[in-house]
């Protein structure tokens, strides 16, 4: 009798444990730390609690470049995660790796999930969609550059804090006033290539690269040395020389200067919101990114930065079902609206944006809808859909080097951008050869 009870207990224990094992694990590798890392972990946790079939395990793998490399190395070793966060400049690399990825539309359709790709905001979706119109990766965190204003600094220099800053012509005048008013750091920027060349080009509807910025083929060439870009960089070079534009580094080092209240104007991603709101002890405002009034067709629309989620090949159908369920969960209006309001990233669906408006967030936090308006103001053109260039992370490095030569006064804007084109094109040809 005793043995029977024992066996029975064993059997039920076994049944329990297999019950627990039946939860399929979904590995998600990401690049977020700090507040956004916590928000991301909370999303995974919420999903895990909302259902019993799948467990999403989120792992931090370093910054964007490191996460991409970790994913590539894992794939080569046959131990790739299900979901990999890849920054927007890695899009062309991922798209070209046909055997390594499982396009998101296939994952969703294969899992038989009710899913509408048209629910996503066009300018966001377009960046990650194939020329045939299929969505290849799931937009996750997308942002667009805006102009951050330290209103106290403007007052300090005797300028009306509501002064018109819609065009660079007007900003030019304000910078002079700031400088004359004794402000040591009138303008600072983050991500110079992204804001002052990539977005500048889209915003003024001029090509950054040929072949629709690379969307139409790997045989694309850079076109960033056109008159609009050269004029803008030349002007910034002048500002740098006059001490009106302060260069702080290639990434977002300038954020520290702005948040500490040293700088008056700051061109940075809309996703700077979380940090600035938390740290700034001054009255700050958000304005649309300025444009050159003299350029016809401006302002067009700005483009996104950030990352999307790529599903990697080589997993079972059951696991892909879990991935699909999770991606659908992430796109839901509630999750997206919260993400958008907390972090300053764009809502990736129209529904999330509407929900945010209904909740009264835009009224309570003026300026937070500027990024959405700026991105969706006009139907994107071939010049403003986004960028799809191979080796783009490294090309950005080249652009950074050349821009530094302009800020230091070693090269003219024309020389620097011509050189950036020549050097960048060499990398594009390498990429074409490797992936052609």
């Amino acid at each position: 009798m005793k043995i029977k009870t024992f066996l029975g207990a064993m059997a039920s224990a076994l049944a329990l444990s297999t019950g627990a094992n039946a939860q399929t694990e979904i590995q998600w590798w990401h690049a977020f730390t700090g507040a956004n890392g916590d928000r991301l972990a909370a999303q995974a946790e919420l999903f895990n609690q909302s259902q019993g079939d799948y467990t999403v395990v989120a792992s931090h793998k370093g910054n964007y470049s490191e996460t991409l490399n970790a994913g590539i190395a894992a794939f080569r070793a046959g131990e790739q995660p299900h979901i990999l966060m890849v920054f927007e400049v890695g899009t062309a690399t991922m798209m070209a790796a046909k055997g390594a990825i499982k396009p998101v539309y296939e994952v969703m359709n294969g899992a038989g999930i009710d899913w509408d790709p048209n629910a996503y905001i066009g300018a966001v979706k377009g960046y990650y969609t194939s020329p045939e119109g299929d969505m290849l990766s799931m937009p996750y965190n997308s942002s667009t550059p805006v102009l951050w204003v330290n209103r106290d600094k403007l007052r300090e220099a005797g300028i009306d804090p509501d002064v018109d800053l819609s065009t660079w012509e007007k900003v030019d005048g304000v910078l002079t006033q700031l400088k004359d008013g004794g402000v040591k750091c009138p303008l600072v920027t983050a991500w110079q290539s992204w804001i002052h060349l990539e977005n500048l080009s889209a915003y003024h509807n001029v090509p950054f690269a040929t072949k629709e910025n690379g969307f139409a083929g790997l045989d694309t060439e850079l076109a960033l040395n056109g008159p609009v870009q050269v004029a803008h960089i030349a002007k910034m070079g002048e500002w740098a020389k006059d001490g009106k534009f302060i260069y702080t580094g290639r990434r977002n080092e300038g954020g520290a200067n702005f948040r500490a209240g040293e700088c008056a104007l700051f061109t940075e991603s809309s996703a700077g919101y979380g940090g600035i709101k938390a740290e700034a002890t001054f009255d700050f405002g958000i304005r649309p990114l300025p444009y050159w009034d003299s350029v016809e067709g401006a302002p067009q629309n700005t483009i996104i930065g950030g990352a999307s989620l790529w599903v990697l090949a080589g997993h079972t159908d059951e696991e892909y079902k879990g991935v699909a369920a999770f991606l659908k969960f992430l796109s839901s209006p509630e999750v997206q609206a919260k993400w958008h309001q907390d972090s300053g990233y764009l809502p990736i669906t129209g529904a999330a944006s509407d929900l945010t408006r209904e909740q009264g967030f835009y009224d309570a936090n003026p300026g937070t809808d500027i990024s959405v308006i700026q991105m969706t103001a006009n139907e994107p053109t071939g010049n403003s859909k986004g960028l799809r260039l191979g080796s783009f992370d490294q090309i950005r490095g080249i652009i950074d080097e050349e821009l530094e030569a302009v800020w230091a006064g070693d090269k003219t804007a024309q020389e620097a951008l011509d050189s950036a084109k020549t050097r960048g094109d060499a990398l594009l040809r390498r990429f074409e050869q490797a992936n052609g």
Partner: protein
């Protein structure tokens, strides 16, 4: 002068050599072979396909003026790191060697920085020279000097050289101190009795007798400056401003891990291997002749 130890037969020397041969094969010959193999192809990042290009990667690299400029940057950087770290270490070792009281404490303190990893050292120095909150750059500002290594190429080079040399001074110090203590006191005393002052004694006796140590450190430090300073450069300048601090090994990283161009990255590793090989042969052939063992 040459001493030779000869073994009878093959087995014993083979067994004695075997561990070293295995270690070299696993950690050197195999990876180096892989690098040479990959340098002849242009692979895609995920390893799905490879294209044979022969020496195409090398042609591409050597035709690139920025890559060639990186050689000059590396030469300047390695030269400065070697001179600064060995010079400072020798100076400190000579001083510590003359100490009678408290020499143990000095030695321990001087050896400490060696325990700091290059990347951490980089962050430490970056913190001191940070253009906004750095202590040193702030004092320089008070003195009227506007420190900005973010845009000034000379300052950037100076900063990475100092940060790379700092931890290395400890390592070199250890060897120099041991070398100094191995010099027989009687020789120095004899010279002193003959009326040779400190500087004369150092120049004519101590430095020549220290030459085996100096030679060893020269080889080791150049290899260090070529390869192990990556962490410092990555944390402080990322190769900038412009390309002022892009040394060869940093470009290997940047092409391989930022650009995912593994063919070019492998070809650069092979070139580096050859350069360091040649340098070491040159050192052994020409400088070692002047070394007294």
């Amino acid at each position: 002068m040459e001493k030779r130890v000869t073994f009878k037969g093959w087995i014993l020397p083979l067994i004695l050599l075997l561990p070293q041969v295995i270690v070299s094969a696993v950690f050197f010959f195999y990876p180096a072979g892989q690098a040479i193999y990959q340098s002849l192809y242009i692979p895609d990042p995920f390893g799905l396909s490879m294209q044979w290009v022969g020496l195409g990667n090398f042609e591409y690299l050597l035709g690139d003026p920025y890559y060639r400029a990186s050689f000059a940057t590396t030469a300047v950087f390695s030269g400065l790191v070697t001179v600064v770290s060995m010079g400072m270490a020798l100076y400190l070792a000579v001083l510590a060697d003359r100490l009678i009281k408290g020499s143990g404490t000095y030695r321990t303190l001087l050896i400490w920085p060696y325990a700091v990893a290059p990347a951490v050292a980089g962050v430490l120095w970056l913190f001191m020279f940070n253009t906004r909150v750095g202590v040193v750059s702030w004092y320089l500002g008070v003195l009227g000097y506007d420190w900005n290594h973010v845009l000034n190429e000379t300052e950037a080079m100076g900063l990475v050289v100092v940060a790379s040399s700092w931890g290395r001074i400890s390592y070199n110090f250890l060897f120099f101190l041991a070398g100094l203590q191995a010099i027989p006191k009687s020789v120095i005393e004899a010279a002193a009795i003959d009326g040779a002052r400190f500087w004369t004694r150092f120049r004519t006796i101590v430095f020549p007798l220290l030459s085996p140590t100096t030679f060893f450190l020269l080889v080791v430090n150049i290899v260090y400056a070529f390869f192990e300073t990556f962490g410092v450069i990555h944390t402080i300048t990322s190769g900038g401003p412009q390309q002022a601090t892009t040394i060869l090994v940093y470009k290997v990283f940047s092409d391989g891990f930022v650009g995912q161009d593994l063919g070019s990255s492998a070809a650069q590793s092979v070139i580096l291997l050859v350069v360091v090989g040649i340098l070491t042969v040159v050192q052994f052939k020409f400088i070692e002749r002047r070394v007294h063992y």
